[in-house]
Structure formats: structure tokens, C-alpha cells
């Protein structure tokens, strides 16, 4: 421990963690004293250290999802003192460093709590409902081969940029966890508007909108404009996309009716 902390003062924190071995067993909080935390550690590296110590004490390590540790894969995430991904704006848990906390802090961590994300173990939840939303229309239906030249459709830079702003979503689920209603509007609208804003996405725009919104509603709650999602989003996705989704959804109802009208003159 001493080697690592020669150039920076070590911190001591108290960690209260939700432990639940499996979905069908009741969970509870457990508290650990964590001395010797280097401010240069990431939050997950701090958990690695806690886990190593737990194992040396013969206790099972804390289960948490993680992979890239660069804030792009969207695997990690839990509530830190009631905030999804912790106190830093626009930051995934893996990008959060201990220098953002103070010596002596008491931190409570627990999994995303939402009906749409059933618990798997400790801090791990099942987010496959997000895959179901994508499956119901979150794509452009072009098969491999046969695509025209990439420069055939000029796309104004502001349009490409707006689409990219939406496409930056990492699918971590913090928006759902932060929402008092457990709603997934921010995720769904980001995934939808990434495509709906582009010329390539127009052919399936209305079907996509209805498919994704209706699938979303089978898993998640409704949006009441709290904006907690935007504040928690590690990629700062704007709730403007929710407004665009709502507009598209209203329009889609009409468009669908017109199409039916066309089929049965």
C-alpha cells in the first residue's frame, strides 16, 4: 500500500454496498472500512482493492459489471450516494477517480433500481430490455451489399452532428436508474433520433418510432419531464431528443393511418 501512495496522500473511506447473492434471495447492505485509497485510483480500481481484501478474508467479492473502463462500453454503473454514476457530471463510474472524493467520506453504492432492470447479483442488473427496444426498430433495414456510394447522399454537417450527439449513447441505463418513474425515454429517443434525423433513416421512420416507443412502454415507466436522466447521463445526451421522439410518435400515428387509408381506398 505504501509504495503507491508516496506521492499522494492516501485516503480512508467507508463503503456501504448492496449485497444480494441472487434475485431470489433477499439482499442487504454491508459496510466496509477501506483505508489506503490512492486519489489516482479510479472508483472501480478502488473496488478491485476492496475485492482483493475481501477474498483474502475468505469473503466473496462484490459483483459488478465493467469492461472497457474508458466510459464507452456502457457495462458499468451503479448508484453512488443516490446518484447514478456518482457525483461528477458527464462521467461513467469507470471514469470517476477517487480524487473527486475526500478522506473520511462515507459512500453508499447500490445497483440500478428499476422494474425494467431485474437484479442479477450484488450490483449487476439485467438490461436486456434495451436490446428488445433496438430489436423493435432501432436500425436501418439495409442488408449487406448493394449500398450506394457513401458520398451519394450529402448530409449537412449540422445534421450529421446532431445525429452523432444522439448516437453517443452508451446504453448504460443510468437514465432509467435516475428517473423517479423508471422511464427509458432518454435511451429510446437517443437511439431513435440518431436514425430519424438522417436521410437514410426516413424510409422506416414512422414504423421505427411506433415499434420502439411501444416496446419501451412494455418494460419502463412514463416520462414526466423531471430531467434527472439528462443530469445523470455520462454522455450528456439532451432531453431535446425526447421532445423529437414525442413529436415523431404523434406524427407516426397519423402517417400510419394515412398508409392504411392508401391500402384500402
Amino acid at each position: 500500500m505504501s509504495d503507491a501512495t508516496t506521492h499522494t496522500a492516501a485516503m480512508r473511506i467507508t463503503l456501504t454496498v448492496w449485497r444480494q447473492p441472487s434475485p431470489d434471495v433477499a439482499g442487504k447492505f454491508e459496510t466496509y472500512d477501506v483505508p489506503g485509497v490512492s486519489p489516482d485510483m479510479s472508483f472501480l480500481e478502488m473496488l478491485d482493492v476492496v475485492n482483493e481484501r475481501l477474498m483474502h478474508d475468505g469473503k466473496e467479492p462484490i459483483a459488478f459489471d465493467h469492461d472497457c473502463r474508458e466510459g464507452i462500453c456502457g457495462s458499468c454503473g451503479f448508484m453512488i450516494n443516490g446518484q447514478a454514476h456518482g457525483p461528477e457530471r458527464a462521467t461513467a463510474t469507470c471514469q470517476l477517480h477517487m480524487r473527486k472524493f475526500r478522506d473520511g467520506d462515507h459512500l453508499t453504492i447500490e445497483p440500478w433500481r428499476a422494474a425494467g432492470f431485474p437484479l442479477v447479483k450484488d450490483l449487476i442488473v439485467d438490461r436486456s430490455s434495451f436490446d428488445r427496444i433496438i430489436e423493435s426498430g432501432g436500425y436501418i433495414g439495409v442488408g449487406t451489399g448493394g449500398a450506394p456510394d457513401g458520398n451519394l447522399i450529402p448530409i449537412p454537417k449540422p445534421v450529421a452532428d446532431a445525429s452523432m450527439d444522439a448516437a453517443a449513447c452508451i446504453g448504460c441505463g443510468a437514465c432509467v436508474a435516475a428517473c423517479p418513474n423508471g422511464a427509458a425515454q432518454l435511451f429510446t429517443s437517443a437511439k431513435m433520433q440518431h436514425l430519424n434525423l438522417l436521410p437514410q433513416g426516413q424510409a422506416e421512420r414512422w414504423d421505427r418510432t411506433i415499434g420502439m416507443v411501444e416496446t419501451m412502454e412494455t418494460y419502463f415507466g412514463s416520462c414526466t419531464n423531471h430531467r434527472e436522466c439528462e443530469a445523470a447521463c455520462p454522455k450528456s445526451i439532451s432531453i431535446d431528443f425526447i421532445a423529437l421522439m414525442n413529436k415523431d410518435y404523434a406524427k407516426a400515428q397519423l402517417k400510419q393511418r394515412r398508409l392504411i387509408g392508401q391500402s384500402f381506398p
Binding site: D3, A4, H7, S22, S38, D40, S42, D48, E52, M55, H56, E60, P61, A63, D65, C68, R69, E70, G71, I72, C73, G74, S75, T91, Q95, H97, R99, V120, K121, R127, S128, F130, D131, I134, E135, G138, Y139, I140, V142, G143, T144, G145, A147, D149, G150, N151, I153, P154, I155, P156, K157, A160, D161, S163, M164, A167, A168, I170, H194, Q200
Partner: protein, 638 residues
């Protein structure tokens, strides 16, 4: 065992077209009679699974992630190469081919690389059609940037998140195939064995990570797209869960493992700060477009960088390689940085890095443009180090990033085990001894979208009317038993060392002795040390918990067990290759000014290793590399 590269005859530019005409086809109505298992959902796996399903095959997809969208392809930042010549700067399919062959230090197959360059243009078109939001110019056309090892701008990008956007494109195509073409998706499922019956690949054995259940899946063909083995070194830029298990377990069933010693060190990573560091973070090579790499001329110069005047700085890449400057290929840049750090001119608290300085670029193009180009990378750096790169130069240090070696495949991307296909970073095929920047994304998508869908039919067509081997066949039952036994064995050891401790120990041995520079002496040392660590693992590892619920230590233990065997193979390969080429730098073989010294007369071959048992020396098979179109020359970036 079949060991033919099956490179088609004819002129370079006609080989792929001729081959596509000559391969056997499966009639559209018959494709549904074939079951294909795809393992891995990165760029290669997801694009292959979607494309095969669109053709009509029955596809099952396995990933250990909770969603296919999380594969490590997502972390690639900089871009994807394609020979579009949109910039009017002299690019062509031939130039991309030439740059890639040369960049790979003449250790790749000409025919494969040419095909890669040919299909690169189709990849961009396909991705644009899928809605990948590539960067655009104000007129609405696609933008390009330049990358290391090339003198043209051919890299397409989506901010600093190109890998993410390409993966989301492939993932969305896959989810569409789940919805419309009946693809069966198995998330949180880890492949732990390949089953071979009567000389053909019959299927795989998997473990459900949430329940511990071990089960089999049979198919006419298995496609491995399971990525590289950089995490053998413990510290790398790979995602924490990336591993060698799928390819290594296939190797233990007879698939040859090719060129394992070709490992790429990426020059622009953030230096390690302490012993708890769990992984290293890469910053895109695109930074070298505008950043200038330098160290102080004096040893142990403790002045802060802004206090060091121009005359006391050594811009060593610009000095040593005037033609390519800061944009030399990765292996060359990495070794040059190591040279400076080893000579005591390293910077930062641990003296383990070089500066990457944007002062000149900011003066030239303005703060706003620098922010537009690299804003997200600067922010990432600031988060990790607590330093603002707009004010203080970044510190960079080389780290393991990509592995060019992988399972041996023929021109059809089929391994020597019939019915086992290997795509993307998991195979060895296209990058030779060194990969150029922005070429990994290109290769993953080329393999999945535009190569395998053509070549797999050649294997399947003669099997029409056959059924996959039953999963109650002894070949499957025995394999399931072996997987289950290993799990029980690891849980029963109840030793005193954690999996990470042992992994870190292996990583140190590999980095020190088989890392950026290798010698006969260091490699022999590693060969003596690795078996002892392996023995320690099997005697003294501590895996708590049970098999029947989610157990991340158990998953990790299985992967480290494989690294402990595979690491030795990597060292064997490095020891047998008595030359320096690309990412493989043997200290005994260098020119007077410290550049890699290749030996084309004796080592212009692919080293394909056959597993002969854990404690036995593997057997080397050589596939000679014939250069008909490009004459191998000393790689010079001066």
C-alpha cells in the same frame, strides 16, 4: 491435417473476383438447412452474424457480454481506413494494399491484404447506409483524416468514437436479424470448448454465466470472432474481460495458432500511475496528426515542460524520421519512445513517458479547431490524470494494444480444422507483424460483411442434406464433462492467492521478457518462469463462491488459466523467430541505428503452431510467404 493457404491463382487484382466465381454456392432455399454458430459480437462477429442471417442461414450468436453492443471494438477511437480517394491525394486500392504490406513489415499474405484493400470501399458505403454518423464537411460530403504509416488521408471517423459507431451499426444489423431473420442470441454465455468429430468442427460447449449451466450447441460451422490476447500481459489497453480462451481452447483441439509473438505496442497511452492500475488507457493515434512528441535533451531534466526552451527539447520522431515525422507507424514510434525513456530522458513523476505537445498546433489552427478535433480525448486525459492538455503537454507511454497473431486461417478464413472459421483480431491474417492505425476496424468488418459470407458456402455446399452432430454424441458429452471438471477443480483449490495476483505476476514476466524488446536471454528466462506460475495457480489459487450463480472470479480464473498456457506459446514463437520485424523486436537483430533487422531469407514465413500438450513443446509448421507483386525492402520512414 489440411494446411494450405488456398490463395487463388492469377493477377493480384483478379484473385478475389476469380475466387468468388470459383467457390461453391449454396442455393438460397437451401441456406436455411445449415446451422452456423457465431462466437463473439464485436465488429467481425456481429457483421458476420447479421450478413449470414440475411443470406438465409440459421444463425446462433454467443457473447459473454450482457448485450452484443458491448464488445471491445466499441473502444476504438480514431477511425477506419478505406481507399476511396475522396481527398484527391493519390490514394488507390493498390496504395492501401502497399501501405498495409509494408506497414506489416512484409509478414502478411499479399492476396489477403489486397482483398482487404478492395473491400474497404464497400465497408464505408455499407456503414453510411446503416446510418453510421461519420464526420462530414460543410458541403455534406464525408471527411477524412490521416493516420500513421500513410501519406494520404483515407481515414473515416465519427468524432473520437468511430469504433462505437461502427459497432452500433453492426449491432443494429444483428438486432434486425434477430427480429427479422430468426437469429438466436445467447448473451452472458461463454464458449469454453470447440467440439471436433471425425475431423470436422461439430459445435461448441458453453457455460451460462448467470446459472453456471454447461451446455452444447451443434452446427455445421463455427465462427470465432473473439478478439485478441493482449490481456496476457495483464496491463493493456484491452477491455478487462477480453481474453484468449475461445481461440486457445480451439488451439488445444487442433487449430494452429499463428504468429503469437506479433503483439502491437501502441505509442500513445497514458502512463501508469501506480500499482493498482487495472488497465491502461489508449488515446487515439490521430493525436499525432497535430501533436508533437518530445523529451528534454538533458537526462533527469526536472523543469516543468513550459520552462524548457525549444533548444533544450528533442523532437526525436521528427529528427529521426523527417519524411513521416510524428506519423511513423506504431511500432517505430513506440520503440523510439522506449529508447528515450531507457536513456533516462523520460518525463512525468515515474519518468516513464514522453510529451505530446499541442502548443504549435494551437498556434497554427486555433484552440477551437484543436477542440473540435480532439476535445473528447483531451477531456478523457484530464479525467484520468487531473491535468489539462490545453495547458500542459500530455504524457504518453507505449502499451500493449493489439495482437496481430491469432488462429491460422486460409484465404477462406477457415482454420485447419474444417468448419472452424476465424474472423477479425482473432485470426492472424492481414496485418503481418504490425498493424497500421485504423486498419483493425477495416479488417473486422471486411471479414464479417464481405469475406465470410462468400467463402463459408464453399465449405457448406458439399454438406447439403447432412444434419449437425447430435449434442448427445460422446464428443459433446466428453467435452461438457471436461469443462465442468475444470470449473469444479478451480473451485476446489481454495488456496491463498487471488486470480488477479497470479495474472499480474504472469503479466510482469511477459512484459519484461517478451514485451517491446526481446532477447534470447529474456525469452529463456520467461520460459523458465511461466510453468512455475502455472503450477502455483493450480495449487494455490483462491476462487470463492459457487458455480451455480454469477461468479466473476470463476470466469476470470478460467481465462487466466488459459493465459498461463498461451503465454508460453507466445514466448516460444518469439524465441524461434531470430529476426526483428514489426511488433517483434529482438535486441540481437537490429541495425546500427537501432532499427528492426529483418531476415527474409530465413524467416519470411507464417509460424503456425500445433498444440502438443500443456507441458510439451508445440510443433512449428511453416507457411512460406511468397512476394510476387511487392518486393520486400527495408522499411524506411526517414
Amino acid at each position: 491435417m489440411a494446411f494450405e493457404s488456398r490463395i487463388p491463382e492469377g493477377p493480384l487484382e483478379d484473385k478475389w473476383d476469380n475466387h468468388k466465381f470459383e467457390v461453391k454456392l449454396v442455393n438460397p432455399a437451401n441456406k436455411r438447412r445449415f446451422d452456423i454458430i457465431v462466437v463473439g459480437t464485436g465488429l467481425a462477429g456481429a457483421s458476420a452474424a447479421a450478413s449470414l442471417a440475411e443470406l438465409g442461414y440459421n444463425v446462433k450468436v454467443v457473447t459473454f457480454h450482457d448485450s452484443p453492443r458491448r464488445a471491445h471494438s466499441i473502444a476504438a477511437q480514431g477511425g477506419i481506413n478505406a481507399a476511396k480517394n475522396y481527398k484527391n491525394d493519390g490514394d488507390s486500392v493498390y496504395r492501401l494494399f502497399y501501405d498495409t504490406i509494408k506497414g506489416g513489415d512484409y509478414r502478411a499474405r499479399e492476396a489477403n491484404v489486397y482483398r482487404l484493400a478492395q473491400v474497404s470501399v464497400d465497408i464505408i458505403d455499407q456503414c453510411v447506409a446503416q446510418g453510421v454518423p461519420f464526420a462530414r464537411e460543410y458541403g455534406g460530403l464525408l471527411d477524412n483524416r490521416s493516420f500513421g504509416g500513410a501519406q494520404v488521408s483515407r481515414t473515416f471517423y465519427a468524432r473520437g468514437q468511430t469504433g462505437q459507431q461502427l459497432l452500433l451499426g453492426a449491432y443494429q444489423a444483428l438486432m434486425r436479424a434477430v427480429h427479422s431473420y430468426g437469429v438466436q442470441l445467447y448473451p452472458r454465455t461463454e464458449m469454453l470448448d470447440v467440439v471436433v468429430k471425425d475431423g470436422r468442427t461439430a459445435g461448441i460447449v458453453c457455460r451460462d454465466l448467470n446459472t453456471g449451466e454447461v451446455f452444447s450447441m451443434a452446427g455445421h460451422a463455427v465462427v470465432l470472432a473473439t478478439g485478441g490476447y493482449g490481456n496476457a500481459f495483464y496491463l493493456s489497453t484491452n477491455a478487462k474481460n477480453s481474453n484468449v480462451s475461445a481461440t486457445w481452447r480451439a488451439a488445444k483441439k487442433g487449430a494452429f495458432f499463428a504468429n503469437p509473438c506479433y503483439t502491437q505496442i501502441h505509442p500513445t497511452c497514458i502512463p501508469a500511475s501506480d500499482e493498482f492500475q487495472s488497465k491502461l488507457t489508449l488515446m487515439s493515434e490521430s493525436l499525432r496528426n497535430d501533436g508533437r512528441v518530445w523529451v528534454p535533451k538533458k537526462m533527469d531534466d526536472n523543469r516543468s515542460p513550459d520552462q524548457i526552451p525549444e533548444d533544450d527539447r528533442d523532437y526525436f520522431l521528427e529528427r529521426r524520421y523527417p519524411a513521416f515525422g510524428n506519423l511513423v507507424p506504431r511500432d517505430v514510434a513506440s520503440r523510439a519512445i522506449k529508447h528515450e525513456v531507457d536513456a533516462g530522458r523520460g518525463v512525468g513523476p515515474l519518468k516513464n513517458g514522453a510529451y505530446l505537445d499541442f502548443t504549435e498546433a494551437t498556434a497554427r489552427v486555433g484552440h477551437e479547431v484543436v477542440e473540435e478535433r480532439y476535445g473528447n480525448l483531451f477531456e478523457m486525459y484530464d479525467r484520468i490524470t487531473g491535468e489539462d492538455p490545453y495547458k500542459v503537454p500530455m504524457r504518453i507511454n507505449p502499451a500493449i494494444h493489439y495482437t496481430m497473431g491469432g488462429l491460422w486461417v486460409d484465404y477462406n478464413l477457415q482454420s485447419n480444422l474444417p468448419g472452424l472459421f476465424v474472423l477479425g483480431e482473432a485470426n492472424f491474417s492481414d496485418h503481418g507483424a504490425n498493424r497500421l492505425g485504423a486498419s483493425a476496424l477495416m479488417q473486422g468488418l471486411a471479414d464479417g460483411y464481405f469475406v465470410l459470407p462468400y467463402t463459408i458456402g464453399d465449405y457448406l455446399a458439399p454438406l447439403l442434406g447432412t444434419k449437425p452432430v447430435s449434442i448427445s454424441d460422446p464428443a459433446f458429452v466428453e467435452s461438457e464433462q471436461a469443462v465442468d471438471d475444470q470449473v469444479r477443480r478451480m473451485l476446489a483449490i481454495k488456496g491463498t492467492r487471488t486470480v488477479d495476483e497470479i495474472h499480474r505476476e504472469l503479466g510482469h514476466v511477459l512484459w519484461d521478457n517478451c514485451g517491446m524488446a526481446r532477447s534470447e536471454q529474456s525469452l529463456s528466462k520467461a520460459l523458465a518462469e511461466i510453468p512455475a506460475i502455472r503450477e502455483e495457480f493450480w495449487k494455490n489459487v483462491c476462487v470463492l463462491g459457487e458455480n451455480e450463480s454469477r461468479n466473476q472470479s470463476l470466469e476470470k480464473a478460467g481465462r487466466v488459466a488459459d493465459f498461463l498456457e498461451f503465454g508460453e506459446l507466445m514466448v516460444f514463437d518469439a524465441l524461434r523467430r531470430n529476426e526483428s520485424c514489426g511488433g517483434h523486436f529482438r535486441e540481437e537483430y537490429q541495425t546500427e541505428d537501432g532499427e528492426a533487422l529483418r531476415d527474409d531469407e530465413h524467416y519470411a514465413y507464417v509460424a503456425a503452431w500445433e498444440f502438443k500438450g500443456v507441458d510439451n513443446e508445440p510443433e512449428l509448421h511453416k507457411e512460406p510467404l511468397n512476394f510476387e507483386f511487392v518486393h520486400p525492402s527495408t522499411r524506411s520512414y526517414k
